[in-house]
């Protein structure tokens, strides 16, 4: 088999490359090789509406099945790429097939990090990355019968899963190793706000705890902490991040570090090989030129567009403002920019009203906003971050002044 463009990974990024190539009237042959057996679908609902049973699977598919036929995108699903031969321009699958490419787009995301402790792989210990994870018997059964569910990891996915299970009437215990939730992605004000929300809803939250082992013979019965305490659990949901799925690229000699390194056109160090989305380490204009790996739909989509346009000869470097959302309970968090590296955080509005924003500054410049039930701040925040607004903390804290007005000062 030989295709002009081979996309590895049938997720958000991979699907968008094919969609954008056809939108750009690319007439060459396109194949998507995906390890999951599903046509491309949205991942965010896996810890939200789909997990809660509010949306069926058909509604979260990125495109209806016939779209891919009509656009002549060959779907090679249930196949994992295990090797890349950059000289021969071929990839090999776990089934032993060799597939030739003109251009290769690596859009594999990552696999959930597994707890590196005894019992970390017992039945009933579950990551949340794929439909299969969300549909796993353990999850289904537990959501119906479980007495107590332990969530390990207070990142967005863990918090969202905790909120859904709590709403479904489950007893949820959430364990976080750091001294606050969302420590990797947000400032302290936001962490404390979400901690209080979860506690007020009845989630038992333990911060700064270390999980030593998962207990159980044939399946999980509890989680043992380093102080010896055992928290009973019928299901353990683990949300402690992903490991970028780039082993075949490393083996092929691509420059890799925390994912595969790409340039501003999303090209790897291998000829004719691009990489995008969760697995791609790139220099981001909104991270003050730091090399980052972003895990968001925005990043996967926008990098996909950069690659598709590059392939049809319309090269333009990646420059898109990062944005993200998270839904927990009746709280809609919307973020613009990247807060990592901020040296000042300004609270805008009162968290007690459950509608407020945190504005992040670096050297006096607004670099990001986390907006909770504050969509107006979010949309104006996108402009403010794009414009690189410099503003004082008093101005930013003044909720009477719309953020966009600060731009004209």
């Amino acid at each position: 088999m030989q295709f002009d463009v081979v996309i590895v990974g049938a997720g958000h990024g991979g699907a968008q490359v094919a969609v954008m190539l056809r939108t750009q009237k690319f007439e060459g042959s396109i194949a998507i090789i995906g390890e999951e057996s599903e046509l491309p679908y949205e991942r965010p609902p896996l810890s939200k509406e789909y997990f809660a049973g509010e949306k069926e699977f058909e509604r979260i598919q990125l495109r209806p099945a016939r779209y891919w036929d009509e656009r002549e995108v060959t779907m090679l699903l249930g196949k994992r790429v295990v090797a890349v031969d950059p000289a021969a321009h071929t990839v090999a699958t776990d089934g032993g097939e060799t597939i030739g490419y003109g251009k290769l787009v690596w859009a594999t995301g990552g696999h959930p990090r597994v707890l590196p402790i005894p019992g970390g792989d017992l039945p009933g210990v579950q990551g949340v990355r794929t439909r299969a994870d969300a549909d796993a018997d353990a999850m289904k059964a537990a959501s119906e019968t479980a007495g107590q569910i332990v969530v390990v990891g207070g990142g967005y996915i863990g918090l969202e899963a905790a909120a859904v299970l709590n709403k479904a009437g489950k007893k949820v215990v959430l364990l976080e190793a750091q001294n606050r939730v969302l420590a990797r992605v947000a400032g302290e004000e936001l962490s404390r706000f979400y901690e209080k929300e979860h506690r007020d809803h009845g989630v038992e939250l333990h911060l700064g705890v270390c999980v030593d082992a998962i207990e159980g013979d044939t399946r999980v019965t509890g989680v043992r902490l380093s102080d010896g305490e055992v928290i009973p659990a019928d299901l353990v949901i683990v949300g402690i991040g992903i490991i970028p799925a780039v082993a075949p690229l490393i083996a092929a000699g691509a420059d890799c570090a925390n994912g595969v390194r790409v340039d501003r056109l999303c090209k790897t160090s291998l000829p004719d090989v691009y990489a995008i989305g969760d697995c791609a380490a790139h220099v981001n204009d909104f991270a003050e030129g730091a090399e980052v790996r972003l895990e968001s739909v925005q990043n996967a989509n926008d990098q996909a567009n950069v690659v598709a346009k590059g392939i049809v000869g319309d090269e333009a470097p990646y420059h898109a403002i990062p944005w993200f959302w998270s839904n927990q309970y009746d709280l809609k968090l919307q973020t613009a920019g990247l807060s990592t590296g901020h040296d000042q955080a300004v609270l805008r509005g009162d968290p007690a009203t459950r509608s407020f924003s945190v504005v992040y500054l670096k050297a006096g410049k607004v670099i990001a906003l986390d907006c909770v039930n504050a969509t107006r701040d979010y949309v104006q925040g996108r402009m403010v971050v794009s414009a690189g607004l410099e503003a004082g903390p008093e101005q930013l804290a003044d909720i009477e002044t719309p953020l966009k007005e600060l731009l004209s000062v």
């Binding site: 979260i60 495109r63 009509e70 944005w323 969509t375 979010y378 949309v379």
Partner: protein
């Protein structure tokens, strides 16, 4: 099944027999109507599903809520008729509804 007519900015019409219960955005996506991107999958965070609904249909389509209005404040090509198509659920009263699309999506 209500028939909805999506109209691209250049005037190209796409009549779609839509299923009740889905959103207008989902109907457009499932029938491959160009011009609606819907990056956030319908959660009201991207504003790339912006459309125009004529005033005469407001009784049927309903009015935008606060979040939707705030999201629309900054979109390109905003006007009185602006709506986010992911926030409008299709019902049988929408038979014949005309949904026009802006020149570009997003902020």
């Amino acid at each position: 099944m209500p028939r909805i007519i999506f109209v691209e900015f250049d005037g190209t019409e796409h009549p779609v027999d839509a299923s009740n219960g889905l959103s207008l955005m989902e109907a457009a996506r499932d029938h491959d109507v160009p011009g609606i991107e819907a990056e956030c999958g319908g959660v009201g965070s991207c504003a790339t599903c912006h459309v125009y609904i004529d005033q005469e249909w407001v009784a049927v389509s309903g009015a935008a809520d606060r979040v939707e209005r705030e999201l629309l404040e900054m979109v390109e090509g905003r006007c009185e008729e602006s709506r986010l198509s992911c926030q409008i659920d299709i019902s049988h009263e929408m038979d014949g509804l005309i949904v026009r699309m802006p020149e570009a999506q997003g902020f």
